[in-house]
Symmetry: C2
Subunit: 269 residues, 2 copies
């Protein structure tokens, strides 16, 4: 008797499965985090903790997806795409924030997103060193630490740029007109802070950061974070207001009013 499989897995089953993927990734990433050794000893047998961690974690995730949902597609950073035309596609970044990872800062995360056609139906950011998970599905956006009770994520209601906390991973990512636009925005907010990667988008969902502006993001840098931001009450689009799913120049804000003000200021010539 052939095993029957529902064509559309239940949302609850998918969330549980995503936690399993994050568990599998954590085993690999934590083995390499803060194990850099001495980078000055470069030679034939160079140990690159990021590459090792990235590849190993993605391999672990891909293996689990292929075993459980062989009909699903996968968009990964390290090994490219498979089943690209599938209805359900997993979008994976095993270590988002490689510079933070290299430096030992616990601000990197494993990003796991799930697309149903062009809609992001599930997203998770797992930070295994702090034991935190931020995730969102149709049921809402939540945070949990070390398997404890989960708490709802909610952006805060800062509506004016003058009161906003702005972040971006690295000032060096901006050049030309983008650099000028970011400077314009930065001079309009209460406080600007650099560093943070995926962790900052989750802190925006949790109500501690108001605006994040970045450029050159890949789909796997942002897809998993979209539902976390949106289900917490935030907005995330490109600088032009288009869907963030394809990456590029990205703005995330705690609410629509602040988002509109940010887009307007970035666009001003």
């Amino acid at each position: 008797m052939a095993r029957s499989r529902p064509t559309e897995p239940s949302p609850k089953a998918l969330v549980s499965f995503t936690h399993c993927l994050a568990d599998a990734a954590a085993k690999v990433t934590l083995k390499h985090f803060r194990k850099a050794g001495d980078v000055s000893d470069k030679g034939g047998g160079t140990y690159d903790p990021v590459t090792e961690g990235d590849r190993g974690a993605e391999r672990a995730i891909v293996k689990l997806i292929a075993a459980t949902y062989p009909e699903h597609g996968i968009v990964g950073e390290e090994f490219g795409n498979r089943n690209e035309t599938a209805r359900f596609r997993w979008v994976i970044d095993p270590i988002d924030g490689t510079r933070a990872f290299i430096m030992g800062q616990p601000l990197w995360g494993t990003l796991i997103g799930l697309l149903d056609e062009d809609r992001t139906v599930l997203g998770m950011m797992a930070q295994p060193f702090t034991g935190e998970r931020y995730w969102a599905s149709a049921a809402g956006a939540v945070w949990r630490r070390d398997g404890g009770a989960s708490r709802a994520l909610k952006t805060r209601s800062v509506h004016n740029l003058g009161e906003a906390v702005l972040t971006s991973t690295d000032p060096a990512m901006f050049s030309g007109a983008d650099k000028e636009a970011f400077a314009r925005l930065s001079s309009s907010v209460r406080m600007t802070r650099f560093g943070g990667d995926c962790y900052n988008y989750c802190l925006l969902a949790a109500g501690f950061i108001d605006v994040i502006v970045e450029v050159d993001l890949k789909p796997y840098d942002i897809v998993a974070l979209i539902p976390i931001i949106e289900r917490a009450g935030g907005v995330v689009t490109t600088w032009d207001g288009a869907p963030a799913t394809s990456g590029g120049r990205i703005v995330a804000s705690g609410n629509r009013r602040l988002h509109d003000a940010t887009l307007k200021l970035l666009a001003r010539k």
Copy 2:
């Protein structure tokens, strides 16, 4: 019968006592971390988590020191100094990295240093959210997490700026000639990253960051970190090579060769 007290407490007793101070501070800081509420609701009853956490934690620390070592001096951020001419002076920053604290990033720390005349004999950085403690005394520099086994801290042997990872808490701290000097240094290293506060100095001691350059530091921002850096094999001075104890423009490096190269590049006109 009067209780006798040794005029010079044993180094071991002082380390244990410093852990008690960090425990007392953690109870207060964690109560306020990520409890910002809605900052847009500003009014008469404004809740400022940093100020509340800072003051409460310093109060807890000062109370313990006064009860245990009443003859010792205290240099604190929030309540100023007491017994300034004492041989032993505690230098306290209950929340170093207030911006990280505000944003929910676990990169802030409670800094506790102890001066014997002008020599820093003990220093600790406690990050209660991650459960980490980095500290140093005559016995060496160590790291411990959640009360687990302690591990020795050791800077890595990157000797050339071209291979170095440079960090600084905020690019906006530099202006004028300092800004030019930092840009010169930044263009000579492998990677520059902003954000991190006291946490980065500990990651330098742990061998994941090679150079940190900052300005406008107060004594309580750096005193506790000096022995952690030095006992791990690193060097920390002002940009002019003077002792870092008084704060100001500070450079920390993983080793002497790298430090000399950094000072030279910063000083070049």
